[in-house]
């Protein structure tokens, strides 16, 4: 298996596990990257996908030739609308997010600390020129699920004692899913609740620069 396939499998595994966290009938906002793979793994579970540019009930990408450039998701990709979907403006869309009406956001993170505080919008030393809806989602939704590879490409820990990347806000994540493990956060404490097949707690400890309680 080459490295690329390996990364692809990792991302799929994370998306698959994240799909299990979602409840029937929930309103979900999916961030860019790994979260966009989740719909493939929902099976019979029905959830409502919320796109912050103004669509609740986002459907899959259209067939070629059926693209409407005025029917897009928050990643500016063409989408379709499912029966029962609703369309609205940006102010109401973010009122839904900020007001706690979106059940769950599944988003990527660049870093997360052992309390669940996360960084997902800016890299230290790089230009800070984009935030999009990231902070609104972190501040507003009922449940924040993070999906990310356990370490960076160069093998550095992304799960850390305290953030070195710019924080996305006070609000802590609820669940963190990597290709190696699942963590939960409660009262500023991190719990290891699952390890992937063939992964040991020692392996997790080695690749995680944060304290956590083992709660398998």
């Amino acid at each position: 298996m080459n490295v690329q396939n390996n990364v692809k499998t990792m991302r799929q595994d994370i998306a698959k596990r994240a799909a299990d966290e979602l409840g029937e009938g929930e309103v979900i906002n999916l961030g860019v990257g790994i979260p966009t793979l989740i719909p493939e793994y929902l099976g019979d579970k029905h959830v409502f996908l919320h796109s912050e540019n103004g669509l609740l009930g986002t459907g899959p990408a259209p067939e070629a030739g059926q693209i409407n450039p005025d029917l897009i998701n928050a990643s500016k990709q063409p989408v379709t609308e499912l029966p029962g979907s609703a369309i609205f403006d940006s102010a109401l869309s973010f009122a839904m997010i900020r007001g706690g009406h979106v059940d769950t956001a599944v988003i990527g993170a660049l870093q997360v600390d052992q309390t669940g505080e996360l960084a997902n919008w800016a890299v230290p030393g790089k230009d800070i020129l984009g935030v999009g809806g990231a902070m609104d989602l972190v501040a507003g939704v009922q449940k924040v699920i993070l999906t990310m590879t356990h370490t960076s490409k160069s093998g550095e820990a992304k799960i850390v004692e305290s953030l070195t990347y710019p924080s996305s806000g006070y609000r802590k994540a609820d669940v963190l899913i990597t290709e190696k493990a699942v963590f939960t956060f409660k009262n500023n404490q991190m719990y290891l609740v699952e390890v992937a097949d063939g992964v040991t707690v020692e392996d997790i400890e080695e690749t995680t620069a944060a304290s956590f309680v083992v709660a398998l």
Partner: protein, 231 residues
């Protein structure tokens, strides 16, 4: 169908002055008034502060004004993927003010709704609230955000009626209604103007009292994208 509010494309520049704060609708190119922006790119109006979620694409939409050096400052939520904007900022000739997307949407609506400022949980504890007032309500921190008015708002809709009531095509609305509320002068670019009475009272998204002028678009959807009509 014609409307008293309809103006010609060459009239657009009359309503925009050097140094204006201009609200420009759109999420990406959807809901962006491409024709109006093209017209402004033909003029020498400059030092604009543009409030828009992003700055279009290179040579598309607001990207044209950027290339022309007509933009002094951009207020929006996401410029990362626009190479031209990143370069302009690095070279020091474009100011950028970054806002969380929801704060931007709410701030624009607030300006239109007569609300000068409001508190939001978004951004509390981050770099984006570093120089902003923070206050606790019920033990939780919130950031005071000011409303975001426009000297002019340039918006895009699907159809207008003769009075200037607007409806949109799918997710085209995005920031447009809020911007229509927040602009002192509001120019809407539309595909067509239909007779008054053709739009149902319940389906109108932007009410005519928010809209000052109408222009007809030169863009149409073709092959899943926006194409300028050549004729």
């Amino acid at each position: 169908m014609t409307s008293k509010k309809e103006i010609s494309l060459t009239d657009i520049s009359k309503y925009i002055k050097d140094g204006d704060q201009v609200l420009v609708g759109g999420f990406g190119l959807s809901g962006c008034p491409l024709t109006i922006v093209d017209e402004i790119a033909k003029t020498d109006v400059k030092d604009l502060t543009i409030v828009s979620n992003n700055l279009g694409e290179p040579q598309k939409g607001l990207g044209k004004l950027l290339v022309n050096g007509q933009i002094k400052k951009a207020i929006g939520s996401y410029f990362t993927t626009h190479r031209g904007a990143v370069n302009a900022w690095n070279e020091g000739w474009l100011e950028i003010e970054l806002l969380p997307q929801g704060t931007m949407a709410e701030g624009i609506r607030a300006a239109g709704a007569g609300i000068p400022a409001f508190y939001t949980p978004t951004g509390a504890g981050t770099k984006l609230s570093e120089n902003k007032e923070v206050r606790e309500f019920d033990g939780k921190e919130y950031v005071l955000e000011k409303s975001i008015p426009g000297d002019v708002a340039l918006i895009r809709a699907h159809k207008a009626d003769e009075y200037g009531n607007l409806v949109y095509r799918k997710t085209q609305e995005n920031f447009n209604t809020a911007m229509a509320m927040a602009g002192k002068i509001v120019i809407a670019e539309v595909d067509e103007i239909v007779p008054t009475g053709e739009l149902k009272p319940e389906e109108i998204k932007t009410q005519h009292l928010f809209v000052d002028y109408l222009v007809k678009t030169r863009y149409e959807v073709e092959g899943g994208t926006f194409v300028e009509r050549t004729k």
